[in-house]
């Protein structure tokens, strides 16, 4: 009897939210050849962001498939409004040795963001051990992964695949699911295509996948670019890592802390702003940012923690982004 129960349980776990969502990544037909090589089919465009979200040092491969014959309109300010039928795929992986980016790698999950007639849907597909397939797992999961970092040091990560609801914890604006990354500011840079290097917005315009692409376009700096201005690096960093929740329409709006780059320099950006419901997340500190004093700034404290009840972002990482914390520390020190 107990075994029967188990079998039925297992059966239920593989039950999917409606028949229209494939249970396997390969069912989407986004890739050609071996799935793990992640080579896009024609009509599937790889893309990259200038300043990406930190996800426990995972590397990411990103792809967009527009519905055939459709294009997306350029806009300078926010994430592009992709048409219904668009699919965005993001594969998270770890190179076994970060010093050899083209060496062997462990694929962790591929998230599909699918623009359905009822809105965007996020679906996590978890890669099997054999790296031959990724399977839909609405409840997410965790797995331990080990790799060598840039310094050749062994690093262990308890990698967490978010569940479907947690996806929306970040991908939400005014209650509706939305992509976060692909905006003009984030994509205004060259990447390597099959045909060679080209600026992404130029490419999208030239191939008629994007309409009305102007020549003058905003651009984030890369936050890892030490040659860029500190303020611009911080704007880019906080925008992609925090502003998806911390904006007036996002899930963290109740905090009144808005880290969208447009709020830079205001009280809402945290400068001498008291926390609202930070609880022990305040770390005993009075303000989100105290100019010149990173050790007295809650922003720095919460970025520099991996306690689930303290850390920010509260999802999507389990370890500290040392380089990000260093950047914020340097910036807060520079303020006066």
């Amino acid at each position: 009897m107990r075994y029967l129960g188990f079998i039925l349980l297992l059966g239920l776990f593989s039950y999917q939210p409606g028949p229209k969502f494939p249970s396997k990544l390969s069912d989407y037909g986004l890739f050609e050849g071996e799935l793990k090589n992640q080579l896009p089919h024609s009509g599937v465009t790889p893309y990259a962001l200038i300043s990406p979200l930190f996800s426990d040092y995972a590397h990411k491969l990103r792809f967009i498939q527009l519905p055939s014959g459709k294009s997306v309109a350029y806009n300078p300010d926010s994430v592009f409004q992709f048409p219904v039928g668009t699919r965005i795929a993001k594969t998270f992986y770890y190179p076994m040795d970060e010093r050899k980016p083209n060496g062997s790698r462990r694929l962790m999950e591929t998230r599909i963001l699918s623009h359905e007639p009822t809105g965007w849907v996020a679906l996590p597909y978890i890669w099997n051990e054999e790296q031959t397939e990724a399977y839909l797992e609405v409840a997410g999961g965790t797995s331990l992964v080990e790799f060598k970092n840039q310094q050749g040091k062994k690093q262990q990560v308890n990698y967490v695949v978010p569940n479907v609801n947690q996806c929306k914890g970040c991908h939400e604006r005014d209650g509706a699911m939305t992509p976060i990354g692909p905006s003009a500011r984030q994509m205004n840079a060259s990447i390597q295509y099959a045909h060679g290097n080209e600026n992404q917005l130029d490419y999208w315009g030239r191939t008629n996948q994007m309409s009305d692409v102007p020549t003058l376009r905003p651009k984030f700096v890369s936050y890892i670019d030490e040659g860029a201005s500190l303020n611009e690096r911080v704007k880019a960093y906080l925008d992609i890592n925090c502003a998806h929740c911390h904006n007036p329409k996002g899930p963290a709006k109740s905090s009144g802390l808005f880290l969208d780059h447009r709020y830079y320099g205001t009280t809402a950006y945290g400068i001498m702003k008291s926390p609202v419901a930070a609880g022990r997340g305040s770390g005993g500190l009075q303000y989100d940012i105290v100019a010149g004093k990173p050790a007295e700034s809650i922003l720095h404290y919460r970025m520099n923690s991996h306690d689930p009840g303290v850390m920010m972002p509260e999802l999507g990482r389990s370890i500290i982004h040392q380089e990000g914390v260093a950047l914020i520390r340097e910036w807060i020190k520079s303020l006066n």
Binding site: G140, E172, G175, A278
Partner: protein, 399 residues
């Protein structure tokens, strides 16, 4: 729905099912639930390792087998800040279960229209500690909230906390060993009655704070509550406004307008029975131009106060004010008002126009003081005549 019931049957019958499977099964149910489903959670003690979330659903009931019978413990939580998180939903009922020891808040609901918490115990089991999460029950940016017969214990901020919400009823609840027992913050139309708040730092708080999305709270009725012995040392992590509440506070109204406090028993508070203060008392600079820092249109009447003679405990900023500025000695007044007035609401006599007044009347063992905080407490006055008034009460039909 049929499948869910079969599924639940097997949870009960399947002793081999481990904690991890239970958690995954429950989370999967929450994700796959169809509008109208009842999700029943078995009796037992279950260790949960990550936040459970319900998102974008309508008409869902999550029902345990009873308080202390169905226990979800987040003691070994590894991911997520909350125990249970309910977002962007409508018509949600959560009832008959206990949740314990999450890293952050125990149950948070955000952007939910019509939510009922009923017979929920939400607690940190290791006693009052700053390491405990902020809020036990935490609806924020919600509309139509009923919190009925719940118990909240050990929150390092507020046990029952309603923030930036509208149309709220909190009744028959018990809150103890929290910094604040029950707190209504930047919320409109709240009816808080027949609760028991004891052994907290502060019993019931009604606050309006700056820099928030829902700017203005108010139209709050607090009545028929038993608020007693809230003399616990304040254990809130610093940086939180509640950390400024002095131990020994029965009720504190901070910068909220249209608040009626009546028919309560407010007993044995070493610092203050009912404090009515402006945001200036928090000594934090105000940068929010739309923010109204003044409490106005408040009635405190027909309550019963009791307090033994004795000095206020010497702990925190307010205690210093009491000791060195107010100098009440051992006969500390039950009701204090900071006396900081908004000149735009004053008449020619320099006092508030009738519709903005703070009125205190017909309390048992009533004793009142105006702190005159505006003039550095120079003219502290007991039983001041400007507070001896009656004004229109908050209307019930607004709720």
């Amino acid at each position: 729905m049929k499948y869910l019931l079969i599924f639940l049957l097997f949870i009960g019958l399947s002793p081999v099912m481990g904690q991890a499977q239970f958690e995954k099964a429950l989370q999967t149910q929450l994700i796959l639930a169809s509008d109208g489903d009842v999700i029943e959670v078995e009796e037992g003690n279950f260790q949960i390792s990550g936040s459970l979330s319900l998102e974008g659903k309508k008409k869902i009931t999550i029902r345990g087998k009873g308080m202390d019978k169905t226990v979800l413990s987040f003691k070994n939580q590894k991911t997520g800040a909350e125990g249970i998180k309910i977002t962007n939903c409508e018509n949600i009922i959560l009832e008959d279960l206990t949740v314990q020891d999450s890293k952050g808040d125990l149950i948070k609901s955000m952007h939910v229209k019509d939510i009922i918490f009923r017979r929920i115990k939400a607690e940190w089991t290791g006693g009052p500690k700053p390491q405990n999460g902020s809020y036990a029950l935490y609806p924020v940016l919600c509309t139509n909230i009923l919190i009925d017969s719940c118990i909240a214990i050990g929150a390092s901020d507020a046990g029952i906390y309603v923030g930036q919400s509208k149309h709220i009823e909190v009744k028959n609840c018990t809150a103890y060993q929290n910094v604040a027992g029950i707190e209504i913050e930047n919320s409109l139309y709240a009816d808080v009655h027949h609760n028991h708040a004891y052994g907290n730092t502060g019993g019931i708080l009604v606050f309006d704070l700056p820099d928030l999305i829902q700017k203005k709270g108010g139209f709050v009725k607090v009545h028929d509550n038993l608020i007693e012995d809230n003399n616990l040392s304040n254990f809130a992590p610093k940086g939180n406004i509640v950390g400024k509440v002095p131990r020994g506070t029965g009720m504190l109204i901070l910068a909220t307008s249209h608040v009626d406090i009546f028919d309560n028993k407010i007993l044995n508070h070493r610092t203050v029975g009912v404090g009515i203060i402006s945001y200036f008392m928090a000594e934090i600079a105000i940068k929010d131009k739309e923010y109204d820092p003044y409490p106005t249109a408040i009635s405190v009447y027909k309550n019963t106060f009791e307090r033994r003679l004795g000095r206020v405990p010497l702990e925190g900023r307010f205690a210093q004010i009491y000791r060195f500025k107010l100098r009440f000695g051992r006969d500390v007044p039950q009701i204090v008002y900071d006396g900081v007035l908004d000149s735009t609401r004053c008449g020619s006599d320099g006092q508030y126009l009738p519709q903005h007044r703070i009125c205190v009347h017909q309390n048992i063992n009533q004793s009142v003081a105006n702190m005159d905080a505006e003039h550095d407490f120079k003219n502290v006055r007991r039983n001041p005549k400007e507070l001896d008034c009656v004004q229109e009460y908050v209307k019930s039909n607004q709720f």
